[in-house]
Amino acid sequence: MAKITLDNLAHSYLPNPASEADFALKELNHDWEDGAAYALLGSSGCGKSTLLNIISGLLQPSQGRILFDGEDVTHAPTTERNIAQVFQFPVVYDTMTVQDNLAFPLRNRGRDEGYVAQRVQDIAHMIGMEGVLRRKAQGLTADAKQKISLGRGMVREDVNALLFDEPLTVIDPHMKWELRTQLKTLHRDFGHTMIYVTHDQTEALTFADKVVVMYDGRVVQIGTPEELFERPEHTFVGYFIGSPGMNVIPAQVQGNRAVVNGSDIPLGQAYRPPEGKVEIGVRPEYARLSQTEGLPVQVRRVEDVGRHKIIRADFFGQDINIIAGEDDHVSADMNRVTFDADHVNVYANDWRVQGEAA
C-alpha cells in the first residue's frame, strides 16, 4: 500500500506533441492518498484508461513523474510496482482451470502452495465460484470470466494499489451490485488504495470516497459525491453528474443578480462581472415550477419516473429540466419557474466562479 503521487504528469500518443490538443492526458498534479477509494469518472476517450495504464506502468508518460510513497517509479516496469489491475474485458487463461487462474499471480511470485491454496479458497468464496474451481476457464460465460479477472486482481494481499478499468461493463446488473458491494467490503477490510475507472456515475458515487471527474484529458474536479453535486467546478461535471444533469443557461451576472433575457434571477452570493462566456448552472432539483413567481417557462412534457417527476420545459428557447416531488401537482397553468438562489452557480468559460458573501 502506498501513496501515489502524480507530478506534472502528461501523456501524448504522438511522438512529437506540438499543441495541448495532442495530449491525451493533460498536465496533472495529484496525490492518491494511501488507502482511499477513488473513482475516475468521465465519458469515453477522456483519458481515464491512459491515466490508469500510466500508474500501473503499462504506459510510459511523455512527461512528468510518478512516485509511490515518495519513490520515483516513472520508469519502473509493471512488475516492480506491485499493482493489480482489472481490465474492461475479461482476461482469463483459457487452458488453465479456474483455480490455476486465481493462483497464477501468486505462483508467479513464488508464494508457497499452502498459502496459495488458502488465498484461492478465500477469493473463490468472495466471487462465488467455489463450485467451479476445477473447471477449465474456457467456455465459461463472460461474467464468470470477468469474476475470475476480478479475483485474480484481488488475490494478492500486498499490492500497492488496485486499479479497475470499467470492470463491470460485461456483468449483468444484479451481479454488478453484488460485486461492487464486495469491492467496498474488501476495501474496508484491507484498506488498499483503489482506483476505479467508470463512465457510470452511480457506480462512481456508490463506490468511492472521492470522485475524480475527467473531461477531455483533464481532471476537472476531485471531490466527494456531495461536492460534485452541490458545487460542480466545471459545467461538464454539472452535466455529467445527476440525472438529468445541471441546467446551464447563458446569462449576464451583475453583483448578486443574474440577468436572462432581461429578467432578473437572484443569486446567493455576489460576483464581480466575470469575463468570457458567462452561464449560470442550476440543478433540476433546485428549480421549482410555480403559478405566480419567477420567470416564464413552457412545460413540454412531464415524465413520472416513480420517485419524482421530471419536467422538460422550454425556457427562453432553451431546454431545461425541473424535478418535482412525486406528490407535487403539475397543472397547466404553472408556467413560471424559480431557482433556489443558494444553489445557483456561476460559470465563466465553463469554470465555476467563486462568489463573495452578499
Binding site: 500501473s56 474485458f89 483459457d94 488453465m96 497464477f104 477449465k136 467456455g139 485474480r152 486482481g153
Partner: protein
C-alpha cells in the same frame, strides 16, 4: 391442397454431378478398375482379384518408400512447426516492417515447385552452385547426387525454405488476434515470457496451427516435383518417396495393376493419417474447453 410434382429440379443438380464425375469419381474408379485387373498390352484386361494388393502389401519396395515418406514428413513437420512459430513470434506486429516481412515471407510460397527444385538443384552443385561450391571450398565433402545424407539434408532444407513461411504466416495471424489486454494482464500478473507463450499465445494459436500442420502433412506426404527435380529419387533409392516410386511403377514400368493398388493404399494412408491428426487436435481443443 395438392402439391405439384415436378422432377425437373433434378436437372439443376446435373452440372455438378457431371463435374464431380469427371473430376473425381471416374478417374478414381478407373484406378480401382486397374487395381483388380491385369494386362499384357493391346488393351486386353484380365480379372486379377486382390492379387495386386497382396503383392503390394508383401513388397519391400513399397514399405521402404512408405518408411522414407513418413520420415520425410516427420522431419519437416518437426522443423517447420516450431520454426514457423518462432518466426511469427519475432515478426514486427505492425507498421511498415510488418508488411515488408509478410511480403518477403510470402515469396517462397509463390514459386512453382519445379522452379524451387531447379533453384536448389543448381544451388547445390559443386561446380556452379553457390552452396555446393562454398561448401566444397570450405573443405566439406558435399554431394547430393552421391551421398544419401547430403541428398536428404538438401531436400529437407529446401522444403523448410519453401514452406516454413506458410506455418509462420498462419501462426502470425493467430498471434495478431490476441487483444492487448491479455499481454497487459500478464504483465500485471508477473508472468514470465515462457508463461505468456504457454498460456496466452499458444492456446490462441491452436486453431490455426492445426490447419497449418494438417496442410503441411498432406502436402509433404504427396511431395513429388521437388525431389524429382533435385535428386530424381537417388542416390540409389534413398530419396525415392512414395509418389516418385508410384510414378516409376505406373509410367516407367507400366505396371498398371500394382501401381493402381499402390495409389489406392497411398490415398487411404493420407486419409487415415489426416483423420487421426484432425481428431487428436480437435479433441485436444475440447479437453481444454
Amino acid at each position: 391442397m395438392n402439391k405439384t410434382v415436378n422432377q425437373k429440379a433434378w436437372f439443376l443438380v446435373l452440372p455438378v454431378l457431371i463435374l464431380v464425375a469427371f473430376s473425381a469419381v471416374i478417374p478414381l474408379m478407373t484406378v480401382v478398375n486397374y487395381s483388380v485387373q491385369d494386362t499384357f498390352g493391346q488393351n486386353e484386361f484380365f480379372w486379377a482379384g486382390l492379387i495386386w494388393f497382396e503383392d503390394m502389401l508383401a513388397s519391400d519396395r513399397m514399405w521402404d518408400a512408405l518408411g522414407r515418406q513418413l520420415m520425410f514428413s516427420g522431419i519437416i513437420l518437426a522443423i517447420q512447426a516450431p520454426l514457423g512459430i518462432f518466426v511469427a513470434l519475432n515478426m514486427p506486429k505492425s507498421g511498415i516492417w510488418s508488411s515488408v516481412c509478410l511480403v518477403l515471407m510470402s515469396l517462397p510460397l509463390l514459386i512453382p515447385w519445379n522452379v524451387v527444385g531447379t533453384i536448389w538443384q543448381i544451388f547445390g552443385r559443386a561446380d556452379i552452385g553457390l552452396l555446393g561450391y562454398t561448401l566444397d571450398a570450405l573443405g566439406i565433402n558435399y554431394n547430393y547426387t552421391q551421398d544419401t545424407l547430403d541428398a536428404w539434408v538438401t531436400l529437407i532444407v529446401m522444403d523448410v525454405w519453401h514452406w516454413t513461411s506458410l506455418v509462420a504466416l498462419l501462426a502470425f495471424a493467430g498471434l495478431k488476434s490476441i487483444p492487448d489486454a491479455y499481454y497487459q494482464a500478464a504483465k500485471i500478473d508477473q508472468a514470465s515470457r515462457w508463461k505468456v507463450f504457454r498460456y496466452i499465445e499458444l492456446p490462441k494459436m491452436t486453431g490455426v496451427l492445426t490447419i497449418a500442420i494438417l496442410l503441411r502433412f498432406m502436402d509433404s506426404f504427396k511431395i513429388y516435383t521437388e525431389p524429382f527435380v533435385v535428386t530424381g529419387g537417388g542416390p540409389g533409392n534413398s530419396t525415392t518417396l512414395l509418389s516418385i516410386d508410384l510414378v516409376k511403377m505406373a509410367l516407367g514400368q507400366f505396371d498398371l495393376g500394382p501401381a493402381a493398388a499402390f495409389s489406392i493404399m497411398y490415398f487411404l494412408v493420407i486419409l487415415l493419417v489426416s483423420w487421426v491428426f484432425y481428431t487428436v487436435m480437435t479433441n485436444l481443443d475440447k479437453q481444454e474447453g
